[in-house]
Amino acid sequence: MTLRRPLLVLVALVLALAAFACGGATSARRITVWHAYRGDEERALKEVAARYEVERGVKVTLLSVPFDAYLSKLQAAVPRGNGPDVFIDAHGRLGTFTKEGLVADASGAIGEADVARFDETSVRALTQDGKRWGVPLATKCLALFVNTRLVTSEIATLEDVQKLRATLPASAVPLAYEAHTTYYHVPFLHAFGAELLGSAGDFAMVGRGAEDSVALVRDLTKDHVVPDEPSGALVKQLFVQGQAAVVISGPWLLSELRDEVPFKVQPLPTVAKTGKKMRPYLTVEAAFVTPDGAGKPDAVGFARWLGDDASARTRALVGKQVVATKSAWADPEVARSSALAAFHAAAADAVPTPTSTRLQATWVPADQAIKKVLRGEAEPKAALDEAKARFDDVMRPPPPSPSPAPVMLLAGGALLALAYFGVRRARAPGFRAELTRSLPVYRYVIHAVVTVCVLVVLPLVAGAATSFFAGGRGETRFVGFENYAQILTARGGALLGHGSFYLTLLVTILWTVLNVAAHVGIGLALGLALARPWLRLKAVWRVLLILPWAVPSYVTAVAWKGMFHRQFGAMNAILTAVGAPPVSWFSHFSTAFTANLLTNVWLGFPFMMVVTLGALTSIPKDVLEAAEVDGATRWQRFRHVTAPLLLPQLLPSIMLGSVWTFNMFNVVFLVSGGEPDGTTDILVSEAYRWAFTRDSQYGYAAAYAVLIFLLLFVATRLLGARVDRAKAKVA
């Protein structure tokens, strides 16, 4: 009785609060916007959004999403209704967006009347199937940065750049750009009348024009007009230090230049030989409205707001963007930035990047072909034909859907067998009693079992199940064992041909064996050395030697990759210092493999050293003394006593190390990155490429993963039995 009153009050209070909260939620207008901007661009966006908030009374939540994870986050969030209302991204992914229903028709934000307000190319880039899908905000394309101190003449043609060779000091290069990257090669392609992706979504970088363009770049490199292996960082460095007369780069370089060198920006030149302009790919950054956002007038309004004159002016002035809104360029303040204006001019001639999802699959084979030619390993025609074959291989149509009978039969059979053994077990005498007796025990282990199931078993099963499917997102279909069949038959190619499972497996085994041997050898030697009683400063040595292990492996890998750079790496500096010729580390399998190996040995030996140190303490001192009294020399003591006692203790670590090395993705991916030509890829990095760089063939990659799992499972079982035998003997 006494309790009823407070209870009623409480219920009333909760109801009131709930009503208030609901009312608040519906009355407050708020939208969420995703972007990947940083620095000035982010500042400009905030300013624009703040104005929108004030003017329209809408709360705009800006969320900065890391660029690397941008697409996957969109793909995960939007279909589940957790995504943004508006997001800003490059138009190149429009194909994916429309295919997966991540964007809505943006005609509400950019109507027919608005089209004229924007650069014509940018609107075209965002138009698909006759519909406009986004509000163009800014454009990005390659242009020419000219060091005006080194270059006084006008650069109108590529040949003008070539001629600089004669007038420049020897330490400077006429032209620096990422020559082995297809994106930077596209302007050359276009100048020769070729293109990367055909209108039918085919690999079009073949034929006379494409070959000539690659041959031209090869000659530029040969004539030292372009430096070897120029990475983005190197290009920037050369330009900043005044060692490159001209570089090809995008607006992102602007934000990294201070006042080190006087420079100007101009559109890419013409290739005089063909008389055609070097037209780069144009990326249009646009505001897209998600299906959720399309239902909110505020969201559509914000997309529109981003593209209007005032916003464009802010984005140009604060964000230093090459805005796609024409009116901004009439503003005297905006026009004062000649670099931005130059990019704007360059954009007019640029070719919008194709939005087809198939473009993604062209980069790797095209890159490989260009590198091959630049290394002098193949003629342009052979290399490009091979690239086309690789593209076609990757983009082969998914296999026909077979009847699921075999898989079902197998699964059914397995279930039946399981049931049979289960029943047999359950009917065994004493089983019930045993079960009842052990029930309390299950209470103690159940949480662990559940955790392991959810975190380990389920993903494993899900991954394995994926391997029975093929096709990209949204069009996956069941293909049974077809993925496995294709992998194990090398997709009809030579069994040990380029990129075949077996060749990669051989490389992986070689990789694992050499690595583990070096890890154990060096670890053992250092462990034994550190265990010497007379050694001074033992603690210092130990810490120093464990350091490589303490540094995250990808940091080490990236550092080592830098050390192997042909022109500027420490390795070649050492080689040159001792009078040896410098090595182009990533041009040959043997040297690239060695580079990977050195890096991973550096990463791996401390573990074996620590294990050895631990295992050594378990060898009784007097047994070694007994051997000494028995007449054994130091080597004999190691050979006949220490080694046989150490080995069983090291075996589990060797097994562990083998599995780690077998799957050492970081080093392979970051140091050689499969170079040259994918030959140093191991099974995991190959699986990664199928999943993430080759048209999202997740099923195919999953089949790789399952095969890797099976290989390691069998190998560790075999080795494990040996370990047990060896341990049983001594322990």
């Binding site: 007097d622 003394e625 007994a626 007449g631 003997k729």
Partner: protein, 398 residues
């Protein structure tokens, strides 16, 4: 047997060489097989050995005994070559081995923990040293056969050490030494990991092995029973120095110092501080701790002075119950009786503030003794020991 003679033959040339140099009379002492001269060893700032001299005659069994920390194990390890001496010289079979590694010393050692190679079968454990010396397989087999027969290891040869009992491991460790036929056998407290019954058994076995092989042996122990029963020569170490050497019974009967007197013998010798008093008739009586012990004047001779402050000692076994009418040397007030059946130990004191006195009682007396009893005891003069109170050295050894 054959193993022994062969071993002896093998050593013949060396022995002959020394014989030729100095022809010895038939009764001459046996040549020295192993000697340490003025050996010093320190670990860091701790001086373990402070100048030790040691001599082991050919074929004899020398036992190093002393409390823990006295340096006996260090000395053994120096002889083995596992440690290097800071100063002094080590000789084995006439050769200076002070700086020689173990493999150049031709020695075999039995470790306290046996130190068997855990990954090798008994057979391979035995063969290990021989294989290192590239001994022919036939010879290895023969020696293993002999050793395993002698030690009863025949059925264990194919087992691993972990499949053996403690006693069996001990025997394998001995076998490993025997097959080597070394110049010198070294034992480092080999029985301390065995239980009491097994210890007695193996002790006898070691002595038997020594008798059969005539092997020159250096044996380290802290156990006085082992020391007394095994040794031909006993070396008592204390504080890094040799306190006394000699035949075990001599050392027992005539301890040179208070330390040796208390270290050897169980229960310990009764000791008390006191004074010498001249008695009527030219004799001396040592008085202290409630005891008045008549002294063997012949033994101590000139060292006896009236009023001299001494430590007087008598072993519990040497005290006997006074006959009726006999004047007792002391009257023991019994506090505790440990009855062992045929004998008993009575613990008590002769004077309220005096030191504890222990006596062994036999037969009738052993059965009757009760706490609170007062037992009159007599100490025969030949069993009364006197030590200088300051130096601790026996008066007859000064």
């Amino acid at each position: 047997m054959s193993a022994m003679t062969e071993a002896a033959e093998e050593r013949e040339p060396r022995a002959k060489a020394s014989v030729e140099e100095t022809p010895l009379p038939a009764s001459a002492p046996r040549p020295i097989r192993c000697a340490a001269r003025g050996v010093k060893k320190a670990f860091g700032k701790t001086q373990i050995l402070k100048g030790v001299d040691l001599e082991i005659a050919e074929g004899s069994f020398a036992v190093l005994v002393g409390p823990s920390g006295c340096g006996k194990s260090t000395l053994l390890r120096l002889v083995a070559g596992l440690e290097e001496a800071d100063e002094g010289k080590l000789e084995i079979a006439g050769r200076d081995v002070t700086r020689a590694p173990p493999r150049d010393r031709d020695i075999a050692m039995v470790f306290q923990s046996y130190a068997l190679y855990p990954h090798l079968s008994v057979r391979d454990n035995l063969a290990f040293g021989l294989r290192l010396k590239k001994t022919p397989q036939a010879e290895i087999d023969k020696r293993i056969d002999e050793a395993s027969q002698m030690l009863g290891l025949g059925h264990l040869l194919d087992r691993l050490p972990k499949q053996l009992s403690g006693g069996q491991r001990q025997r394998v460790a001995m076998g490993r030494a025997i097959v080597r036929r070394p110049n010198l056998f070294l034992f480092d407290e080999p029985l301390s990991n065995l239980d009491a019954a097994l210890r007695a058994e193996v002790r006898v076995e070691i002595r038997r092995m020594h008798e059969r092989l005539g092997a020159t042996t250096l044996y380290v122990t802290h156990d006085q029973v082992e020391a007394m029963t095994l040794a031909d020569t006993l070396w008592v170490l204390n504080g890094g120095l040799v306190e006394q050497k000699g035949a075990p019974l001599d050392v027992y009967a005539r301890p040179r110092t208070k330390f040796v007197a208390t270290f050897l013998g169980s229960p310990q010798m009764n000791l008390a501080e006191g004074k010498l008093q001249k008695a009527s008739g030219g004799g001396f009586v040592a008085e202290g701790g409630g005891m008045a012990l008549e002294v063997d004047v012949e033994r101590f001779g000139a060292a006896l002075e009236d009023g001299r402050e001494v430590a007087l000692g008598v072993r519990p076994h040497d005290l006997r119950v006074a006959q009726p009418g006999e004047s007792p040397s002391l009257e023991l007030r019994v506090e505790i009786v440990e009855a062992l059946g045929f004998e008993a130990y009575a613990y008590g004191w002769a004077k309220a503030s005096g030191p504890r006195v222990i006596v062994r009682l036999e037969a009738e007396h052993a059965r009757r003794a009760r706490p609170g009893d007062v037992i009159p005891l007599v100490a025969p003069p030949e069993h009364v020991h006197l030590f200088c109170q300051k130096s601790g050295v026996a008066l007859d050894a000064e």
